[in-house]
Amino acid sequence: MSPMPSVVEAGRWLRDGETTAVRLLEGALQRAANCEAQIHAFLTIDRERALETAARADADLADGIDRGPLHGIPIALKDNMCTRGVETTAASQILAGYRPPYDATVVSRLGEGGAVVVGKTNLDEFAMGSSTENSAYGPTFNPWDITRVPGGSSGGSAAAVAVGSSVAALGSDTGGSIRQPAALCGVVGMKPTYGTVSRYGLIAFASSLDQIGPLTRTVEDSALTLEVIWGHDPLDATSYSGDYPDPKAGLDRGVAGLRVGVVKELSGEGYEPAVESAMGEMVSRLEGAGVEVVEVSLPSFEIALSAYYLIAPAECSANLARFDGIRYGHRGQGSTTEGLMSRTRAEGFGPEVTRRILLGTYALSAGYYEAFYGQAQRVRAAIQEDFTRAYQQVDVLVSPTSPTVAFAAGERTANPLAMYLSDICTIPSNLAGHPAISVPVGLDSQGLPIGFQVMAPPLGEEVMYQVAAEVERFAGFELAPTLQEVAS
């Protein structure tokens, strides 16, 4: 496949008059037309609306109005972000046909930044899953090997960026849902510090963990996209209103003199040898570049997954109570209000969402709250304390993003616990609310991408991107999925 441009390249071409926003969009739509039958990255593509936005971006540039780095750039949105008048389903039957009466804050910000929304991408229903197989509208497949999963839950966004059906995309990350699919699809995926990107208009899964972030071809694109979408928003009560770092400031600074911690608990049993050796090689490269490498132990990570699978379902069971067939979405039959609600929900939710609602309801119910939910919240505090202790010694922490490369479609669907283990490296950053990024560092012997994770303290995006940029330079990774395009 011919390479698609990065945000930076496309922006340069636009300003040099070598291309137009309409031509960039047409390129992305053509790529989607050629790839969708095999990978199914999108749930909705609104061609007319996108072409109108692109034409407006071109007219603005011609008039000397430049809205910044995303002006005229095709961007895809995970379908759990509300778009006014455009179907938003969160990949659930219960929201089939739902057209929100408002835009999510990130959608408004992309609009103000001149970005062109290509379409809405596929996900695990309500962002619950690690393979994009839980979508009510059928799975997404990995463009590097279409018999495998793209990861999840932002698998559609990751696959769309990997094939160039979009130059960049937004995803949401509750336990790794941006970083893990980015790793499995060979793109850059980043979860910002909790509270820095508004959750207004993001269909809630677990509110204390959910965070929107970018999926891009390069580290610099990631920083540029983040700058457009983040910032204080009075519409989100958990939004951070203090000073924000400059994510671009360290991109060209190199890493000499930094201290990098390798997390002891995120290695060993369950980690594929190819993942561990790519990890070790990159750490050696960093050491060669003047980084002080330290092995650090964060013992609470051993029980992070257990805490996550109590806290996230508990919050999910509360958040998803709103889907009752009264105000929007699917409605089942019932002779009483409660009967109608119970039927609506049984019909509308898929198995994984049902399982998590039941799990969360149990964990919050009388008699079990203290032993499960209360204790999980204490584990969360212990994780934050372990991170704080580690960051007294080091500037960033590193680990694999996922213990394995992309696994076969269907391999883990019958075993929820095996699926949950996909997120073991990414969950601690969500529980602590810290930023983290996955950068592709190479391929295994089967030609499948491997991701390298850089974690940083809260509001540590500058040093996180500084290290990520160096990792990217050392890896020299080429985004060239093996998918054969089918001419449309």
Partner: protein
């Protein structure tokens, strides 16, 4: 340690009208997941306070002023059944 689950009670609390067969399947899966989740009990609880926001934010308030809200007709247009500007639901209780 096996975990005791009254799955019918949990499903009722969650407002999920599931068949006996479905409930049995979920009960088995929940048992396995909760057995793994029970590892949180290995943490010495004493020194750790429950915690949420990493930046230490608490409540945030806005000024108590009236602002425009969503358009009523647009909101009602998404509902399965409406009448005279209201959502329509079946009776809350059984009976006539």
């Amino acid at each position: 340690m096996p975990v005791e689950i009254d799955i019918e009670h949990v499903a009722r609390l969650a407002r999920l009208d599931l068949s006996a067969e479905e409930l049995e399947g979920y009960k088995d899966q929940l048992g396995l997941i909760l057995e793994h989740a029970a590892r949180v009990q290995s943490l010495d609880a004493e020194p750790h306070a429950e915690n949420a926001h990493p930046l230490g934010l608490f409540n945030s308030f806005r000024d108590d002023v009236v602002l425009p809200s969503l358009d009523r007709d647009e909101v009602l247009a998404a509902a399965p059944e409406t009448a005279e500007g209201y959502f329509v639901v079946p009776p809350a209780m059984e009976g006539e």
